[in-house]
Amino acid sequence: MHSLAKKAAEISAAALTLGFFALPIAFLISVSFKTPDDVLLGRFLPTHPTLENWPTAFAVTDLAHFILNSVIASILAGLLTIAIALPATYGMVRLKVGQAWLPDFTLSSYVAPPIVAVLPLFYLLKAVGLLNSLFGLILVYGFMNLPVAFWLLAPFLRQVPVAIEEAAALDGAGPFVTLVRVVAPMIAPGIAATLLISIILSYNEFLLASTLSQTDAARTLTVGVSLFQGERLENPGQMAVASLAGIVPVYVLALFGQRWLVKGLTHGGVK
């Protein structure tokens, strides 16, 4: 009896928690099917559901173009992050390169809030002609996410048994071949998690994008949606459509890689 009551309490607490976390997304979905008059009623569900908001939101804005920009920028930036972070983390953790200062320096560079980099990077990109270009943004994102990538990758590399690398070395493999052929496949889930998280961080970024790429051609989704607020989309239904359409790519990525994500975020602590 006592344990039954306890179970009931646990389940209702879990339902409450889940409800809180589901609410904003559920409400966005509901509003996306509402007419402006329907929104003003302040109810959860639409009274006269309409599909109109969906095509209209894509027609009156560059939504599809902004989403494409964000997808391209975040994927390429994610790959750049991995290309730099994997050898560097291996160098630090296993080959003890710069071990005395580099790990601390890498992690502490994450502490500074992003506002610190806004002005210096603005002038740097301006000087090299990469302001308002997707390529400039890709470089910035690829570099900015390195501390996070190091933080995520290092524990996975530490878990690889040294004996395996020694065996590879006895077979005459150099450290680079060992990393690519032997170690990387072993920590593939960690690399996947790091790649996914880097992509999502870039996809979601707003402050740097709003300053470094201000033209329509190179605008990313978060900046585009923030502009809709004041400009084109006075209609909450269309605003909800724009937000949802932008969320879909990350959610697809998150659901597809959920196993790696949980593992990556907990340093392999949750199996």
């Binding site: 002005l119 990077l121 002038y123 605003m239």
Partner: protein, 328 residues
């Protein structure tokens, strides 16, 4: 080239020679063996070091240069202005208030989210099987772009047609709609709730992993001893988890100082300046007023504040981890 000669001291000249010789051989050995190996090995981390130079070292130097100059966004470095920008920043009550707000918010929201996250983690561990499924679901807020989180909560909190006002009025709790984002205290609370929605799942997942890493027999022993749930939590779980909780708190503190998007979308720093954080204040100074010299000085002061607030927690986390290692 004239060499300095001290009177009648062949021995000292010899000494200098031998010293030079030693020095040369040391140099040579450095140049040949370890240096070459060092330089090749450095290639492993060279791209990382170059990237961090661009994202961290260069901005630091550039900001110092901007801060001691009279600079506009379109025309930086117009004149050297020494410490004028720092003096102006430190005597600007609006900036000092924004600094205080950022620090207070970071500490307060970190405490709240750590407590909520730990509670959710305990709940998930109690629900064993469905817990894992719930965990991948509550991962989604973390993945949602903060701009979209802001828009979703704005729709919920809106005075006209907002869900919350609709519910409150239907239940007869209020007669007129409440302007949640237009009222000083409520606006901060709203930003805080949206932030809780976005980041608590991450804290919960980290706490869950920390709990999962504890040896199971501790709980069995406690259960045999007849300890109740609160005693187990207070006497066993909390002390064992302390080092990891300190590390999670530190991570959350660092993230809390980065808040920008939610403020931008939900309140734009208002009403008045009531939700203007240091980041948002600096952003307006640089990109609305174009005074980048002053903004650079404010950024450097803000970075210092972040360091001062964060360092004790770094120390605490390290200390806790060491104490833990000492026990083991």
């Amino acid at each position: 080239m004239p060499t300095p000669t001290s009177p009648g001291s062949a021995s000292s000249a010899l000494k200098v020679l031998s010293l030079t010789a030693t020095f040369n051989t040391t140099l040579a050995s450095l140049r040949v063996e370890p240096t070459r190996r060092l330089s090749w090995r450095f290639l492993w981390v060279a791209p990382l070091v170059a990237a961090l130079t661009i994202t961290t070292v260069y901005p630091g130097i550039f900001l110092i240069a901007l801060a001691v100059s009279d600079s506009r966004l379109g025309k930086p470095f117009r004149a050297f202005s020494a410490l004028k920008n720092f003096v102006a920043s430190l005597s600007d009550p609006l900036f000092l208030e924004a600094l205080g707000r950022s620090a207070t918010y970071a500490v307060a929201s970190s405490f709240v989210q750590l407590i909520l996250g730990l509670a959710i983690a305990l709940l998930l561990s109690a629900l064993v099987k469905s817990g894992r499924f719930l965990m991948s679901l509550i991962l989604l807020p973390l993945m949602t772009p903060p701009v979209m989180v802001g828009i979703a909560w704005k729709l919920i909190l809106a005075p006209a047609g907002g869900l919350l006002n609709g519910v409150l009025m239907n239940l007869g709790i209020t007669d007129a709609p409440i302007s949640f984002l237009g009222t000083a205290g409520l606006a901060w609370l709203s930003v805080g709730v949206a932030d809780v929605w976005q980041w608590t799942p991450f804290i919960a997942i980290l706490c869950f992993a920390a709990i999962a890493s504890l040896p199971g027999d501790v709980f069995e022993a406690a259960a045999i001893d007849g300890a109740n749930a609160w005693q187990v939590f207070r006497r066993i779980l909390l002390p064992l988890l302390a080092p990891q909780l300190a590390a999670i708190f530190l991570l959350r503190l660092v993230i809390a100082f980065k808040i920008f998007d939610l403020v931008y979308v939900l309140t734009f720093g208002g009403p008045g300046f009531h939700t203007t954080t240091a980041s948002f204040h600096i952003w307006r100074r640089a990109l609305e007023q174009f005074d980048v010299g002053r903004a650079a000085a404010e950024t450097l002061i803000f970075t210092l504040v972040v360091g001062v607030v964060t360092l004790p927690v770094v120390w605490l986390a390290k200390h806790a981890a060491k104490a833990e290692a000492g026990h083991a």
